[in-house]
Structures are given as structure tokens and as C-alpha cells.
């Protein structure tokens, strides 16, 4: 046998390794800077516009506007995650290392969630400004950020899954954005009312809002409530899409 004995990389060690490489790749290219600046400028501008109109010392308008912005922004982050590995053929390199598909999926998810978290930090000046101007409800603000992280996590997991199914970044982006819009808009009261009006017996709008939309759960966080069903919904949906992603990678080999 050869001389060097290698140790087994632990499950979390493999995840950290993939996540570290992925985070480095964001900052090796312009992706992190372009997306980061674009997201922070857009999100903060939307808030400031509302803030000057209403003059209230809270972040409600920020948390109300973000889900629709995420429906575009998150697919833009996730579209390349697997499609690019396939295009460059590095997926064969990655998945013939002693790393399981699930480790690779969770590693990429952790990296994209961390990047998204850093972008959310770009709104902290708003919190600082509100603190200087008055006495905002920090419980609601913390709840809103927790909701944004969980909603973002769900959309990231879904976008990654779509990227694994598609070899093309544009297809992955369009499909993920379309589904993300459906998920967000089915929670919008006006859309619910229109759909209910179109199908009074079925109450389609209410049915969709209560069954598939993440918005009722997200809105509970924005109100400062941490409810078990919301945690189960976001945790469950994220876990399901990550597991489906690992299955999609395994099937892609055959």
C-alpha cells in the first residue's frame, strides 16, 4: 500500500469544505459584490421611500416589500449553483471526491444562505436610524429578520433543486422565479380575493394561501410571533427541497 494514510472527513467537515469553496467562489468573482450592492440599494430604497411617506418608526414596509424582491433575487443566486457545475463539468470532480451528494447540497445551501444573510446585514443601518429617531419594537424587527431568513432559506433550497434539474442557468432562473412568485403572490390578500371571486365554491385563493403559500407563516414572524407551525413549515419545506436536490444529483449521474 502507499504511504499516506488519510483520515475520514466527518459529515460536517465535508459540508464545511463545500461551503467554504462556494463562499470563496462568490467573492473570487463579481457575484457577491454585484448582487450585494444591487440587493441592498434596492431593498433599502424601497423602505426609505415608504418611510418618508408614512413617517412611522418601524420596519413593516421593509418586511412587506422583501418577499417579492426575494422572488427575483434568490433565483438569481441559485440559478448557477448546479447549472454552472454541470456546464463546467466540475460536478464530476466534486462528486467523485469522498463527499456525498447530500453533503454537497447542504454545503452549497449553507454558503448561499450565508451570502443572503450578509446581504440582509446591509439593512442594519435602517435599524440604527430608527433607533436614533425613536423607539422601534425590536422584538418585531428580530422576528421579521428571522422570517426573512426562513423564507429565503426555503426559496434558496427550491432554487437549488431547480438548478440541479436544469443544465441551463436561464431555464433555472425563469422556473424558480415563476414558482417563487406563485408562492409569494398566493399569500397576497388581493390575489386571494380575486381567486376566491373566480371560484366562489372552491375558494381557490384561500385554499392556496392556507396550503402552499409561505406568507401566512412569514407574516406571523413579522408580527413578532414565533409559532411552531411556521417553524415546521419552513424547516420541512427546506429539508424536502434539499433532499430532492440530492436525489436529483444522484439521478443525473445515471
Amino acid at each position: 500500500m502507499t504511504a499516506v494514510a488519510t483520515s475520514r472527513t466527518s459529515w460536517l467537515g465535508g459540508v464545511r469544505l463545500v461551503a467554504g469553496r462556494e463562499v470563496a467562489s462568490y467573492f473570487d468573482t463579481a457575484i457577491a459584490y454585484v448582487y450585494g450592492i444591487g440587493f441592498v440599494v434596492l431593498a433599502n430604497s424601497i423602505f426609505m421611500n415608504e418611510f418618508f411617506l408614512t413617517g412611522t418608526v418601524d420596519m413593516a414596509s421593509y418586511f412587506e416589500a422583501l418577499p417579492l424582491l426575494l422572488a427575483i433575487f434568490i433565483p438569481a443566486v441559485t440559478m448557477r449553483l448546479w447549472a454552472e457545475e454541470r456546464r463546467q463539468r466540475t460536478i464530476e470532480l466534486l462528486l467523485t471526491l469522498p463527499i456525498t451528494p447530500m453533503q454537497a447540497v447542504v454545503g452549497k445551501f449553507a454558503a448561499s444562505l450565508a451570502l443572503y444573510g450578509v446581504f440582509l446585514l446591509g439593512s442594519l443601518p435602517i435599524v440604527g436610524m430608527l433607533s436614533a429617531l425613536g423607539h422601534p419594537d425590536f422584538g418585531r424587527i428580530a422576528g421579521g429578520y428571522a422570517g426573512l431568513l426562513l423564507l429565503g432559506g426555503q426559496l434558496l433550497a427550491f432554487g437549488m433543486f431547480v438548478s440541479a434539474l436544469s443544465g441551463d442557468q436561464i431555464v433555472a432562473f425563469v422556473a424558480s422565479t415563476a414558482v417563487a412568485f406563485v408562492l409569494v403572490l398566493t399569500g397576497n390578500p388581493q390575489v386571494v380575493a380575486v381567486l376566491d371571486g373566480l371560484s366562489p365554491s372552491l375558494q381557490l385563493g384561500t385554499l392556496l394561501r392556507e396550503s402552499i403559500s409561505p406568507m401566512p407563516h412569514y407574516e406571523a414572524f413579522v408580527r413578532g410571533l414565533i409559532e411552531l407551525p411556521a417553524l415546521v413549515y419552513f424547516g420541512g419545506m427546506t429539508a424536502v427541497f434539499l433532499a430532492l436536490n440530492a436525489v436529483a444529483l444522484d439521478r443525473a449521474r445515471a
Binding site: M1, T2, A3, V4, T6, S7, R8, T9, G14, L17, G20, R21, A24, S25, D28, T29, Q88, R89, T90, E92, L93, L95, T96, L97, P98, I99, T100, R253, A254
Partner: protein
């Protein structure tokens, strides 16, 4: 160290690999010859655990590629066909990433990194990004990544692709130097290159293994018939192709 038993693989209706069997023992360098599309890369991808065989069995260092893929990957140094690398990464960071994934860390990782950088002559590019390297360097980076954990089994798909003639000669010597206690299987479609390095030659075409013979035997046959090894291999491919 590599045992391939009656392995078959289909892509849809196309039979890519048809009941192929061979072994590669420790201390042996085996060349895998065949024209483009013959099935070489498919066999190597199945050995690497990237593709599952439809039927048959493959063992690497005593581990089944389907049942124990992680054990196989730990024992294997694999250079894929297109040698895809993470272009944005610095060469040393890429090699560290591969080394860590293979279970190396600390002083051991530093020692092995220094070894592959030296043996693959990567000193000039080690601090550059992969996408700033020439094709020849990229190929050597891929080979370095496959050897960083000093694996007992090496599978290299077209390892000399993109190397200039001097680099090819250096690579032959390098591969021969790795022979001790190691099973090496590499593919090429260049007969002279395979004959110059290998102890044994496998010839595949249309997914079927047409020959599995010691290089010395093919060379003797070539000498006796007044041809070179390439002529003998071509005769095998034509004769068995016609018979099929």
C-alpha cells in the same frame, strides 16, 4: 486492485459498454486504448463511481463501487476526461480543497501539497488562478489533484491530452516512478504513448474489450510481422470489428 467483472452500460438504446472484464493489479500500469467513442471513458467513469454500471461488478481496492462508493473514492485518484477544474480558484487553494476532501490536513496536507507541486512542476503557477494557466498546466493541476492523497489506485482519462511532446516524455517517467505498490489505469487513443508506458494494454471498441495483452507480447507480435504495435492494434480492432 481494480477488478471489472462482466460490466455493461447503456445510454438509452445505445450499448456503450458490453460485458467488459479485466483486472489491474498493484504495481501494474495498464493502458486503455480505443478510438473516440469506444467506451473507454464510460468504463473509467464507472470505476470512479461517477456512473453506476447497469450490470456486472466493479471493485476498487476491495470495495464495491455501488455499495461502498465513498471507500472507493478515498482509495482512488481520478482524473476525469475533460479535466474540469474550478477556474476561479488559485491553484494551491484548489489542491488544498481536493486534499482536504480526501482527508488530509495540517502538516500532512502541506507535505503532500509540496510533493505534488514539485512532481507536477507547478511552482510557476501555484499562486495563480486556474483560469490563468495554460492547457498543459491545467492538465498537470488535474493530475496533481488526483495524486495529492497518494492513492493506491490511479485512474487517469487521457492524462497527456494538452501536453507538449517534452511534457509527455516527462509524464511517462513520472507515471513509471509512481508504479510501486500502486495500480494505474490510464486511457489514450494514441497507441505509441500507451505502448511506451504500459505493462499491459487493453483495447476496446464499440463497448467491447477486444484485447487484454502484455505490451511485450504485442511488441513481439509486431516485430515478428515487421510492423509496429500500432499496426498490430489496428489489426485487432479491424478483425474483431469485422467478426462482430
Amino acid at each position: 486492485m481494480i477488478r471489472v467483472e462482466n460490466v455493461t452500460k447503456r445510454y438509452g438504446e445505445t450499448l456503450a459498454v458490453d460485458a467488459v472484464s479485466f483486472t489491474v493489479n498493484s504495481g501494474e500500469i495498464v493502458g486503455f486504448l480505443g478510438p473516440n467513442g469506444a467506451g473507454k471513458s464510460t468504463v473509467l467513469k464507472m470505476i470512479s463511481t461517477w456512473l453506476p454500471p447497469d450490470s456486472g461488478r466493479i471493485e476498487v481496492a476491495g470495495h464495491d463501487v455501488v455499495k461502498e462508493p465513498l471507500e472507493v473514492r478515498r482509495a482512488l485518484g481520478y482524473l476525469p476526461e475533460h479535466n474540469a477544474l474550478y477556474d476561479g480558484m488559485r491553484v494551491d487553494r484548489f489542491l488544498r480543497f481536493v486534499g482536504r476532501a480526501r482527508g488530509l490536513d495540517g502538516a500532512k496536507l502541506a507535505e503532500r501539497l509540496a510533493w505534488v507541486v514539485d512532481k507536477c512542476s507547478l511552482q510557476a503557477v501555484v499562486a495563480k488562478r486556474v483560469n490563468q494557466c495554460s492547457k498543459g498546466y491545467r492538465q498537470r493541476i488535474g493530475v496533481a489533484g488526483s495524486l495529492i492523497h497518494d492513492p493506491p489506485v490511479i485512474v487517469l482519462d487521457e492524462p497527456t491530452h494538452g501536453l507538449d511532446p517534452l511534457q509527455v516524455v516527462a509524464f511517462r517517467d513520472f507515471l513509471r516512478g509512481l508504479r510501486a505498490d500502486r495500480a494505474t489505469l490510464f486511457s489514450s487513443h494514441i497507441v505509441s504513448e500507451v505502448a511506451a508506458i504500459s505493462d499491459r494494454i487493453l483495447v476496446i471498441n464499440h463497448g467491447r474489450l477486444l484485447a487484454n495483452a502484455p505490451t511485450a507480447e504485442l511488441e513481439a507480435k509486431a516485430k515478428a510481422s515487421g510492423r509496429d504495435v500500432e499496426g498490430v492494434v489496428l489489426e485487432i480492432v479491424r478483425a474483431k470489428g469485422a467478426a462482430a
